[in-house]
């Protein structure tokens, strides 16, 4: 096997040290990198493309769950979640065959998780499937992404979900349109839709998701299509295919 890149993301150094110590006892050739908070971890995933990620859930800056809500499917490493206590998340991990470690854990429990994770490295599609399931499970538990980390000129900052007016698909990217600006993220519109609160964000078109808070008016158009007028004057098409998404939610 090639040399593995393993990222340990945890805000407590002793916790990282313990994982490092355990990894070094495993029979594998690995480069270990460390992140001390959520945003650093997110950047490292983007820049260093680790194969395996030990991800603490509770971290300042960005929680472990927020990190996966902000990553795009193609760049998902195999993740072993690490948490001291989070009943809900643990249930979600169990349901979706994600590996997790409960602190404090011993070497035997770690070994099991590590072997399972290594064997998963060979099957990217299985990994992605599990993550998609996990995302929809989080969504069911009303854990939607509240904000998105975007990169502008090398700087990272958050766009709160409630400030997004609409999201459009642009080739390999999704564009988040706020009242002031537009931010591009590498993701598919369908995967992005999974991260949003369906009570507020509705898919209205193959290429659009709209934040219903910004809708000013809905006008009938031709052939059963509609036009949605946003508060700032922007017009979006509501296609027949997606019409029920919006109308069913508001019982029109």
């Amino acid at each position: 096997m090639d040399k593995l890149i393993i990222l340990i993301a945890d805000d407590e150094k002793p916790a990282r040290n313990k994982l490092k110590g355990f990894i070094s006892q495993m029979d594998c050739n690995a480069d270990i990198i460390e992140a001390g908070d959520g945003i650093e971890a997110f950047e490292m995933i983007n820049n260093s493309k680790p194969d395996l990620l030990f991800l603490d859930i509770q971290m300042p800056g960005m929680s472990g769950l927020e990190i996966i809500q902000n990553l795009r499917m193609g760049q998902m490493p195999v993740i072993v979640f690490v948490t001291a206590f989070d009943q809900y998340a643990v249930k979600a991990f169990e349901h979706n065959a994600c590996d997790y470690l409960l602190k404090p854990f011993d070497i035997d429990r770690f070994n099991k998780a590590f072997q399972r994770a290594v064997s998963k490295l060979k099957s990217v599609s299985e990994n992605n499937e599990n993550i998609i399931k996990l995302l929809s499970e989080l969504k069911k538990g009303k854990q939607f992404a509240e904000r998105f980390l975007v990169n502008s000129n090398g700087k990272y900052f958050f766009v709160p979900a409630e400030e997004i007016m609409y999201v459009s698909a642009e080739e390999k990217y999704v564009a988040l349109h706020t009242e002031k600006s537009k931010h591009l993220m590498r993701d598919t519109l369908s995967a992005f839709e999974e991260k949003l609160n369906p009570k507020k964000f509705v898919r209205i078109h193959r290429s659009y998701i709209v934040n219903t808070n910004f809708i000013q008016e809905i006008k009938p158009w031709f052939h059963g299509d509609y036009v949605i007028l946003l508060r700032d004057g922007m017009k979006l098409n509501l296609s027949r295919r997606y019409k029920e998404n919006l109308f069913a939610e508001y019982k029109v």
């Binding site: 908070d37 206590f85 602190k103």
Partner: protein, 360 residues
């Protein structure tokens, strides 16, 4: 409208008292006269006793006002009793005049001629003696009901103090037994064991001290600022072991303030908040805990370099653990003589507690 209703209610109350006295006294007089086989007019007895009753009822609010304003207690009874005696003379005079003129008017209306008050050298002492029994009764009832009310209020204050301490203990317990704190600390200890057994052992003993303190119920009256600072330093040792150089705390505690009696867990929630909000921002957290004593006042400040409070200042009451409970407990413990203030600094946040110095 509510006022009128209240007014009407109390008028009805005094009227009933007057009527009751009238009925009671008329019965006593009539049965006495019947027993003595004397001749008498029922109407004159009723007029006499009822005017007496209503006159007393009319004066009762004045008497009650005096009794309430100058209550008798173990420590002070000479001055109030003297005041009662002084009031007794004009009250009695008004009582006699009211009775005389009301009877006179009723007699005139009924056409019975002028009212005969009899020999005033006997009549006036008689009325004063009769009034004194009524006044003593009113005084006893008023003072008894007041001391009961005071006892109830004291009981209530104590109960709420106890309840607040229980609440604080529960908040601390929730935080200390907070699974995140507990399991992350255990994980830190587990990691330390591979590197430094002595340090791991120390942390186990620190964690035990904190858990024991949270579980133990002990007397609040002997708890000092020194005890509170010790607890905080143990807690900080654990947090520093977990977060290394990210957490810093400095203490500057004036020795003369160390033995000041403070409510248990009065600073702990403030430190926890400083850490909680400081960790959310990049860079290290610096906390400065200072206590100074200026004569009879101890000023404790917790200063941090965190984000402070962004919008309105009421946030501190809803934000974080039990800060509103901390304020309430301060108010109760020091009988509203403690001050709790906070403000955003250019680079951080400052909470200040001013409390009366009380040696344990």
């Amino acid at each position: 409208m509510r006022n009128i209703k209240c007014y009407f209610k109390s008028a009805l109350f005094y009227f009933s008292i007057g009527s009751a006295i009238g009925i009671f006294n008329s019965t006593v007089v009539i049965t006495t006269l019947l027993a003595e086989r004397s001749e008498f007019h029922y109407s004159s007895v009723f007029i006499g006793e009822f005017t007496g009753g209503y006159s007393f009822a009319l004066l009762l609010p004045v008497m009650l006002y005096i009794f309430r304003k100058y209550p008798v207690s173990k420590n002070s009874y000479i001055k109030p009793l003297f005041i009662y005696l002084c009031a007794y003379i004009p009250v009695g005079l008004f009582h006699i005049l009211f009775m005389y003129y009301s009877r006179e008017i009723i007699n005139q209306i009924a056409g019975w001629g002028s009212y005969d008050y009899g020999n005033i050298y006997f009549r006036i002492p008689m009325e004063y003696i009769k009034l004194s029994t009524g006044m003593i009764a009113a005084c006893l009832i008023s003072n008894l009901s007041r001391s009961n009310k005071e006892k109830d209020a004291e009981k209530l204050r104590r109960a709420s103090l106890e309840e607040q301490l229980t609440q604080a203990r529960l908040d601390i317990l929730k935080n200390q037994l907070n699974p995140h704190f507990l399991f992350n600390t255990l994980n830190m200890i587990s990691s330390a064991m591979y590197e430094n057994v002595d340090a791991a052992d120390k942390m186990i003993s620190n964690l035990s001290i904190i858990l024991r303190a949270a579980l133990q119920s002990s007397d609040d009256n002997t708890y000092t600022l020194k005890d509170e600072i010790e607890m905080i330093s143990i807690y900080m040792d654990i947090m520093k072991a977990r977060f290394n150089d990210k957490l810093n705390i400095s203490y500057s505690i004036a020795p003369q303030s160390m033995d000041c009696s403070v409510p248990r867990y009065i600073l702990q929630p403030l430190i926890e908040n400083s850490i909680k909000y400081g960790m959310e921002t990049p860079g290290s957290v610096f906390i400065e805990l200072t206590a100074v004593r200026q004569n009879d006042v101890v000023v404790i400040s917790v200063k941090d370099n965190g984000p402070g409070i962004s919008d309105n200042s009421n946030n501190i009451l809803t934000k974080g653990v039990g800060l509103s409970n901390t304020i309430e407990r301060l108010n109760n413990f020091y009988n509203r003589k403690a001050k709790f203030t906070w403000r955003n600094l250019e680079n951080g946040f400052l909470v200040q507690i001013e409390l009366p110095y009380k040696k344990v």
